[in-house]
Subunit: 181 residues, 2 copies
DNA sequence: AGGCTTTTTGCAACTAGTTGCACAACGGGC
DNA sequence: GCCCGTTGTGCAACTAGTTGCAAAAAGCCT
């Protein structure tokens, strides 16, 4: 049950409307917890019904019929509770590794191209993370919240680094394999 | 839609009953695609209905009586198709990183213990992978299927290595943080 | 033989996430 | 004034995975 807590975190960082949240879930928070706008609207409704958030009383006119939400004390308390609660390590599920295992049985035909696509995409993500690090975490900033956020970003960077290296290695292995299937 | 293909792969490696599959999903295949026994039984039923697998002709089945399955040619073809098909990189979802991000807002109280638990669990998994590597992939074996399976295992080893390092680093940061919340 | 436990299979209900679409409001172009 | 694309919100149906429980066969004990 992480989505509500992802939303609470995002709203604490900055009160937002559903669409703004959706946009923010396409970067930042969404880098390690993705969500679609439908999920977000549904969850906002629930959180409001539970009294963890509320709509900000209307302010600037702007366009549309925007509803902005902010976190109530009960919401902050729930987030703190969840953050501190012990959770079991998630069960791993990686389709790409599964496909490689399958390829050991049914042959590697066609797989190589997709590995290249994945490599490309991990490289792009890595470059983006590095850019964020350069922009948001210059060496002199180290307020506690910054250090935690930087730590999370480092996890992203190191994970993408791992994948680019591993995929590169995998492609090299493929090149050496007899390519019958 | 990976579960059916995980099962096909497992059954091609060795025909099994539902419970045997469940056991195998607790190691090996399950290391990167976990599944519960209920998922597996349901999926076996579907795969049989679709004509991708069949029960081994032993005795007519009844509840509580073992049924073993094997993959039919159509099943192998479907697995080959799926393996070669392009798939988008999965959207990342990691509750632990999310909690760290939340901790930057609501404080780190209580989180440290759970990080230690996770570190312990990743260390255990890493040791297990290393043992499998030692046992199943001595330096002289390199048949093509072995190389692919070894590649997958290397991914597991490197991922667990990353997590142990990152968690160690995170705990070190925590030690330096003012621990008010 | 009678009951007790384990093995093996499975149903049903639930939770979480995805996909496809609907609809209202507003701004801009003509 | 009217169509049209954009912004913003939302419902409904579907797919995938989880949890809790139960029931048939088989072995085990005395």
């Amino acid at each position: 049950m992480s989505l509500p807590h992802a939303i609470l975190t995002a709203l604490l960082e900055k009160p937002s409307s559903g669409l703004e949240l959706t946009r923010r879930f396409d970067k930042s928070i969404g880098y390690f917890w993705s969500a679609t706008h439908q999920q977000i609207y549904r969850e906002l409704g629930k959180l409001e019904a539970e009294g963890l958030i509320r709509t900000l009383p209307a302010e600037q006119p702007a366009r549309g019929q925007k509803k902005s939400y902010e976190v109530l004390p009960a919401g902050r308390a729930e987030l703190a509770r969840w953050t501190a609660a012990a959770q079991d390590p998630k069960t791993m599920r990686d389709p790409l590794l599964l496909r490689l295992r399958a390829a050991a049985v049914v042959g590697t035909a066609g797989l190589e191209d997709d590995l290249r696509r994945h490599l490309e995409s991990h490289r792009r993500q890595l470059a983006e993370y590095r850019e964020i690090e350069r922009r948001d975490f210059p060496p002199d900033r180290d307020a506690p919240e910054d250090r935690l956020r930087h730590l999370v970003l480092r996890a992203g960077i190191d994970l993408e680094t791992f994948w680019t290296q591993w995929l590169t290695h995998a492609l090299a292995e493929f090149a050496e394999l007899p390519d019958a299937d």
